[in-house]
Structure formats: C-alpha cells, structure tokens
C-alpha cells in the first residue's frame, strides 16, 4: 500500500519510526522492592531507593529481566547475553536520582521484526531496532495546589521496556497496525498490559517526509501520544505540516513536538539546540547484566502461541481467510473466545458468528469480549442448534438477540419460547395446505411457469409457522405439492 502526499511541487512519501514505552508487568520495580500496583495513594509505593535517599543503591529485579527477554523472543529479536545499564542525566522534580537508569549503547535486546496485518489482509514486516530496560519517572501534578507542584513517586522506578522500530513505516495505517500488533504481542506474552489510556503503553513517533525513494528528510519527534488513533492522526498532520513547510520554502528543524488532538496540530516543545545533553555513562552502581543461553532457553519454553503462529493455524486448520484470522488473533481474548466456539464445530461458521454477530453486538454495546454477556460456551451451543437443525439460521439470530440481552443459555431460550424448528411433515403439510387453499390464483401462476412465485409461498409458510418450519423441508414439500 502506498501513501503519497500530493504536494504543490509533486508527491511526498512519509517515513516513520516509533518508540514505544511498555510498562513491564512485574510485582516490584526495576531496581527496588517497592510495589508496582497502579492506583494506590500517592507516594505509598516508594522505597528508599526510589526516593533516591543518600547512599541508596539499585539492585536489578530478575523478573523484569525475564520479561524483557520474553518480549525480545516474542519480537523474534536477538537477545544480548551481556548488556549494560547507563545513567541518563537530567534534572526534573519527578526524577529523584537526577538520572534515569536506562540502557544506552548495549541494550538487552537487539534487532527483531514485527509482521503487520493490514486491513486488506496483506502483511508487511517492520524491523525492530532494539528493546531496552529503563526506569520510569514519578509523576508531577500541577493542579493540586495554587502555588506548588506535587510529586507522586509511586511510578518512580517502575520498569519500562523501550521498543524502538526501524524507520520502516510508510503510512499512518501501518503505524496503527504496528501498535496494534505490538500490543497484541506483549499482551499474549503477559509482559505488558498494553493499556495506552492508563499510560502503561506510550508512543513517540519520529516523522519525516521525502520524495519517493530519496534520502531520509529531517525528522521531528512527536512525544507521548496516548492512543493508536491519535498516533495515526498525529503522523498524518505532522507529515502535512512538513510538506507545506518545505514547499513554502522553509526547512524542517529537528525538534520535539506535542500533538494536540483538539486543535488537530502538532506544536514545538523544544528544538535540538535546547535538547538535553544527557551525559550517558555506564552506571557504576551496577555490574553489566550477564546471563547465559540456558536462561534464555528456559524463558523460550514458556512462550505462548503468538499472534502470527495462531493466525497461520486458524488459516490452515479452520480454513479462515487471512483477514478473518487476523481479526481474531489481534486480541488474545478474542482468539481464545473464538477457539472455544470453534472447538469441534465448523470453524468458518464459528468465525462468521464471532466476527459478524458477536463483535458487531459488542461494538454496539461498547464492551470488550471479556465482558461479553454471551459466553463462548453458549455461542457454541447456539451453533450446535443450527448445525443439528434444531433451529434455522434465521431463528438463531433472534435467539442470539435474546442471549445478548439476558446472557441466557440458548437451549433454555429455544425451549421456553418454543422455537424448535418444525420438522414434523404433518405440521408443515397442514400449514402448506392452508396457504395453497387461500391462494389458488398464485398456485395457478406457478403451474403456468412462474417458478419464482415458489419463494413467496415459502415465505408465507414460514410466516404462518412463526419461522420455525425447516425451510428446506418447506421448499421441497411445496414443490412436490404444486408442481408434483
């Protein structure tokens, strides 16, 4: 897929690289024993180390290392058996040490790949440059007091994985697909909850424009965008700004910018000249982080089936299209739901029901699959009722409506409402006879060769049986009676 901005002077291509900060799922912080629980009282999850009291020293949390390695394996990336923690020095009130412990030239994870699933069913590979571990900062609150800013250090020292892509992204949609896929992978792995609105996944976008195929242009970094939709919008708007700037005779200046979704624009935060000199150097309080291949192999054994593998399996074993399989695996819970429904049943029918009917209804209600009123077991039972001819597909839709409303078992609904399909030939015959008797003229039309009218009769019979008659039987018997 190509995405070209048609400028006044010709076409422009956009080049995007994303830096995503993922908060690591772990009980305690990267270098201290303090809890990482979200939403506790301000400054209640703070150890002496997190508050940077004099003489305090960091000690690496092995669980965070395992999570980073696991994520690296999920990104098909090179795991570095030796990495180094460095200090990134800058002053801010919510950075107690006056430096962030991060990884600079020797990250724990090197190059990898993410496969994007595009809406048209195509795929695209985007390179991962690196993944490194670092500490999160605390939180500054400027709205608590008229004169003072308040600081909450609960988040100070929580482990983050910064995942940096290569500048391989060429469209806003690819950026969206990249974030969706990355989020799916970390969620499958259980290494990050991926909640962008809670800040446990945050994205910076590096955007530049160029003539198609030319050298990279000067980039601007859009900081801290907090939803996938906003990232896509910000890229589109920033790229347009750069094109207009260049075509107007200006020059893109490397700078950090903020996206304001309400104003629909990006604004400069600080220029390169004003950029911090972080004075990175290896943290002398920490030895290089070293582990062996056996440590990596142990973690590798715990890897779940990841979206790409699952997608391939759904296509191979259940005969799903790339698009349907992609939709189902995008979210681990959705894929698990689908697997329960499809187990022992027609995989394609299950996919249709889950994607079209269930996701449609859930979207309308604005709830996640985890909160679905219809359990996967019950949806499976509904499919069974269709497959064993207890109800028609038409009735099944009605039953499904009731299930969405009440969460009830479809067997119970069908029994209570008497929706069981009529397959008793006598009952169907009676209904047919009544319709034939009431419409002799129409019967004659069919006999005169207007076959199409047969459908009208089927509809009448279905109507008179409350939709419960087996449509196949109705069709056959009508044909026999009128034409036979």
């Amino acid at each position: 897929m190509t995405y070209i901005i048609e400028g006044a002077t010709g076409p422009w291509e956009i080049v995007v690289g994303l830096e995503v900060h993922c908060q690591v799922i772990s009980k305690s912080k990267l270098f201290s024993g303090a809890s990482t629980t979200f939403g506790n009282d301000a400054n209640s999850n703070v150890s002496l180390v997190d508050a940077a009291m004099p003489g305090m020293l960091p000690v690496i949390n092995a669980e965070c290392v395992r999570q980073a390695v696991k994520t690296g394996l999920g990104l098909k990336a090179k795991i570095n058996l030796e990495s180094v923690f460095s200090r990134k020095n800058y002053f801010y009130a919510d950075l107690p040490q006056g430096y962030q412990i991060s990884q600079f030239d020797k990250p724990i994870v090197g190059e990898g790949t993410i496969i994007l699933d595009m809406p048209d069913g195509s795929t695209k590979a985007v390179g991962i440059e690196r993944l490194h571990l670092e500490q999160d900062a605390g939180k500054s609150m400027h709205d608590q007091d008229p004169k003072y800013s308040h600081i909450d250090l609960n988040r100070s020292g929580v482990a983050l994985m910064e995942i940096v892509s290569k500048p391989d992204i060429r469209t806003p949609e690819e950026a969206g697909a990249y974030l969706t896929k990355l989020r799916a992978i970390v969620r499958y792995l259980g290494t990050c909850d991926g909640n962008m609105n809670e800040g446990s996944m945050r994205c910076d976008a590096n955007v530049s424009v160029r003539r198609p195929g030319a050298e990279f242009g000067t980039r601007c970094e859009i900081k801290n965008v907090n939803s996938i939709r906003f990232v896509m919008q910000a890229i589109e708007i920033e790229a347009k700004r750069q094109v207009e700037l260049i075509e107007g005779g200006g020059e893109v200046v490397q700078q950090t910018r903020l996206y304001d979704p309400r104003a629909g624009e990006t604004r400069a935060m600080r220029s390169k000249e004003m950029a911090h000199d972080y004075r990175y150097f290896p943290d002398p309080d920490l030895l290089p982080l070293v582990f062996d291949q056996a440590f990596v192999s142990e973690i590798e054994k715990t890897l779940p089936e990841l979206p790409d593998e699952k997608k391939a399996r759904f296509m191979r074993e259940n005969g799903l299209s790339a698009y349907d399989a992609g939709v189902l695996v995008a979210d681990q819970e959705k894929s698990e739901y689908y697997e329960v429904v499809a187990k022992g049943r027609d995989g394609k029918l299950a996919a249709n029901w889950v994607i079209t009917n269930l996701f449609g209804a859930l979207n309308k209600a604005g709830v996640d699959v985890a909160e679905s009123p219809v359990s996967a077991e019950n949806l499976g039972k509904l499919l069974d009722l269709i497959l064993n001819d207890t109800i028609s597909g038409r009735i099944a839709k009605d039953v499904f409506e009731i299930m969405i409303e009440t969460g009830d078992d479809p067997d119970k609904i069908v029994a209570e409402k008497g929706l069981t399909q009529i397959t008793d030939t006598g009952a169907i015959e009676t209904a047919i006879d009544e319709v034939i008797a009431a419409n002799p003229d129409k019967v004659q039309e069919i006999r005169d060769g207007k076959d199409r009218m047969l459908g009208w009769f089927v509809g009448q019979v279905m109507k008179s049986t409350g939709g419960k008659a087996n449509p196949g039987m109705v069709n056959q018997m009508l044909r026999d009676k009128i034409l036979g």
Partner: protein, 492 residues
C-alpha cells in the same frame, strides 16, 4: 587522656573480656577525651547519650555471654555513613539536619558486632579533599603540631576519623577511601588506615562520592586493630550489586609475623621527581626492614602510574556529578526557594548555597567530561587508561605478593597551604590513587618521623581480596619500625 583511651582495640577487647573495666567505663573515658579536644573539630556530631546507651546494652549482652568481634569498643563513625536517627551530613550544608531512617550496612555490621558509636566524625565535604579543609562544619586540626606550633591539616577526606584516633578520642574509626581518603590522613596523623579491595565492604548507606572507587575501611592505631575491625565491617551485601559475594576471612589470623620468602615489589615510577629526601629515606628504611624480616624485595614497573592522577580526576568527578544530582532541594536536606521561583530557581539556589566550592568544582569537571563531544576524549579514554593501570598491577602481582610505596609525598602541612591551588592539593593523592583505580587493597602505616617530628607513612598494596597479605606484611613492618611517637600532649 587516661589509660583507657590509650589502648589498642585488641587490648581493650582483652581488658573487657577479663572484666578489668566495663564498656560504659571505656566509653565514658572516650566521651571525656572527645569533649576535651573539641578544638580539633574532629566531630560534626557527638552522640554521648547514644554511646552510653549502646555501651550499657553491650555490657548487658556480654553478661549473657554474647560477645561480638567489637563488643563494647567505642569508635568514631565518619559522617559519610548514614546512621539511623543520627544526623548525617557528609560535611555539607546541603545535608545539614538530614536524619536517615536507615543504618548503613557497614555501621550495622559494626554495631551488630558490639561496637559503640561515640559520634560522627568530620570530613571533607562529600569526601572531596585531601586536607579536611572543605568541610562546611569547619576544618579539622591534626593532633600533631608543627615544630613552630602551627596547626596542621589531618589529611583528608577522613580527617576527623584520623584525628579522633590519633588524638585518643576513639579507639578506632571508620573511614572511606575513594582516592586515598583513608590512607593519606592515616599517614598524616600517624595511624593505620586500610582501604580494602573494592567490593569487600558494602557501600549501601554510605553517601556516594564516586561509586566505582568508594570503599569503606578501618582507621586504627595498630595493624592488628585494622584486622579486627575490617573483620567486623566487611561481608557480602545483596543490597550492593558491586559487593563481592565472598566469605570474610579471619584477618587477625593472617598476622603470623612471618614474611620469609615473600616477594615485595618496589615500583620505580613512584620515585617521582622532587620526592623529598625524608620520604625517599623512609621508603628505603621500609625496604630494609622487610628484607631483614626475610622477604625478597624486587624492583617492578607500573608504567601507567603517571596517568593515574589525571585519570582519577576524570572518573571520580564524572561519577560525582551524577551521584550528587539527587541533592536538589526537593525531598530532603537544604531547600532554598522564594515565592514565585521556578523549579530551575529551586535547583540553582539550593545547590549554589548547599555545595561548597570544591564540590561545585568537581561537579563542573564531571559534567564537562561526560558532555557530548568530550565523552570519548575524557571519560572513555580515562576508562581505558584505568584498565591499563589495573593490568600494570596484575602483571606485577604475577611475581610479587605485595607492593611497598610511600603513602603521601609529604608530612602533614599547615592549614591554608595548598589551598589556593587545587592541582597542588590533588597531588597529595599521587601514591594512593593508582590502587584505588585498580580496586586493590592498600594500607598505610606509620613507620617514621619527618625531620620536623611529624609522622610519615608507608603504603602496602595487595592483590584483589588479599588483605591478609597486606596485613601480614604490615604487621611485620609495624614491629620492625616500632613507631611509638604520639602527638604532643598525649605522650604518656
């Protein structure tokens, strides 16, 4: 001074064991000595009530048969160790009034072994200095006086600890050594100072100066005392990632008095131009003593020695500039801010008022050498040279068991001297800095007097985690030198 303040740790330990006196009596005698020599300014905070309380508890513990390695022995603690409930300042205005809620691992080990704390001894601000003249709480005066009666510096940065031990205000003291801060003041004050191998003692709870160099160690009046006290301080600490996971040997058992067949290296590069005759003579005398005791003395070369001082003055300030960023007025210590000030105002005012000139100078040097465009030329280069310096020693230790050098290029100098020239002041550490950069154990012990009657020290440097050899050789040198001189007024 009483008999009780003139004991070695070892003798006091034996006296307590025999019941000749109690820890309370021993502690009271030292509290009195501390009070009577306040003019030396060896302490920033005296803790007499806490000392008596700890001594009482120790006597009670002893009565129950529970006797630690330092049971009932009163010591001074350098005010760089965080002590729970007791003000800890690092001799800086920026930490004035700071009372930690935690106890450093080293002091916790000492107290767990029964030691009694008399107070927090003075030092150069954030341990940056070689004369104890940069303390916000005033300079420390060496108990030794110049021939003309002038006041002398005690050396630094552990100047208060050295003065307290030399002045018989404490049986021993903790020190910390980053580039010579235990060994040089020990030499200036005529006592024993041992900087252990980097990683031997935990840095947890010690206010950081330069993390890759800082190491705690004992300051005592005998080599045996250093062995006793190191044994009570050291040990692996999971809270310090750079602490070595190694067992603590019985250091006292290393004092066999027998160094026959050992090889002692004499590095030619330490015989610097302009070395005073009395220092050269002291060194030669030391060589002769070791030879007489049956060791063989060999000339060695440590070719990168001349780069040690400049390397140190890149690495240490670089780390310090980052380590001291946490003193920002936000969470603890000094806070200088006026109505309407910005966050940057708060930082600038607090740090300008809170840090002394020498600390500010080192923060600026450190910030410079780490900055973009200079990192490779300075910091990265310094790391490479540091590696070479380590390799020099590693090569030498392929043939020798220990290295003997002078500790400092001169005896204690007068207060005010060298103060206008930082580089001249930095030269005090020229013999101690190489072992610091290499992370090796080094011990200074007094072996003679200068022409003006001031103590001079020799330094023994050992292999990594081989403090035992350093102590063994040091014990022999101590016996041979027979250094018994005391500061004027304390002879007895």
């Amino acid at each position: 001074m009483t008999d009780l303040t003139n004991l070695t740790l070892a003798a006091a330990r034996d006296g307590l064991a025999k019941g000749d006196y109690t820890s309370v009596e021993l502690t009271e005698a030292h509290i009195a000595a501390m009070a009577s020599q306040r003019d030396l300014n060896a302490f920033i905070t005296e803790t007499p009530e806490k000392a008596i309380e700890m001594a009482r508890a120790s006597d009670a513990k002893r009565a129950k048969g529970d006797v630690g390695k330092m049971e009932g022995l009163p010591i001074a603690v350098k005010d760089l160790f965080c002590t729970e409930g007791v003000q800890t300042t690092a001799a800086s205005h920026i930490l004035e009034g700071f009372i930690p809620q935690y106890e450093s691992t080293v002091t916790a080990n000492l107290f767990g072994n029964g030691a009694v704390m008399l107070g927090k001894s003075n030092l150069d601000e954030f341990a940056m200095g070689s004369a104890n003249v940069t303390s916000y709480f005033g300079n420390v005066i060496n108990p030794w006086k110049a021939a003309d009666g002038k006041n002398l510096v005690p050396g630094g940065s552990s100047g208060g600890s050295a003065a307290a031990v030399a002045g018989r205000m404490a049986l021993a003291a903790t020190g910390t050594d980053t580039g010579g801060s235990i060994r040089q003041p020990a030499a200036f004050c005529g006592i024993v100072g041992l900087k252990p191998t980097y990683g031997r003692c935990s840095r947890w709870g010690v206010v950081a100066f330069a993390s890759s160099l800082d190491q705690a160690g004992p300051m005592t009046r005998s080599v045996r005392d250093a062995a006793i006290m190191l044994g009570a301080m050291a040990g692996h600490d999971p809270k310090d990632s750079t602490s070595a996971p190694m067992a603590v040997p019985d250091f006292e058992a290393a004092l066999t008095g027998d160094i026959r067949g050992m090889k002692i290296g004499i590095p030619k590069e330490y015989r610097v131009d302009g070395m005073p005759d009395e220092i050269a003579r002291l060194w030669d005398d030391g060589v002769a003593m070791l030879r007489d005791a049956g060791a063989s003395v060999v000339d060695i070369s440590l070719p990168h020695t001349k780069y040690a001082l400049p390397t140190y003055y890149i690495v240490a300030p670089a780390e310090a500039s980052s380590n001291l960023a946490r003193y920002d007025g936000v969470r603890f210590g000094l806070r200088e801010v006026a109505e309407g000030d910005s966050l940057d105002d708060l930082y600038m005012k607090t740090r300008a008022a809170g840090f002394g000139k020498e600390v500010q100078r080192r923060i600026m040097i450190g910030t410079y050498v780490l900055s973009a465009g200079y990192y490779d030329a300075y910091y990265n280069k310094a790391l490479k040279v540091r590696r070479r310096i380590y390799e020099d020693f590693a090569n030498a230790f392929g043939t020798v068991d220990a290295v003997l050098t002078p500790t400092a290029p001169s005896a204690a100098f007068a207060i005010g001297e060298n103060q206008d020239d930082p580089v001249k002041m930095y030269l005090n550490d020229v013999f101690t800095v190489p072992a610091s950069l290499a992370g090796l154990p080094g011990m200074s012990l007094p072996t003679g007097l200068s022409a003006s009657g001031l103590p001079l020290g020799l330094q023994l440097i050992g292999k990594p985690f081989d403090e035992e050899t350093v102590l063994r050789v040091g014990g022999v040198l101590e016996s041979a030198a027979g250094f018994t001189a005391k500061p004027a007024g304390l002879e007895g």
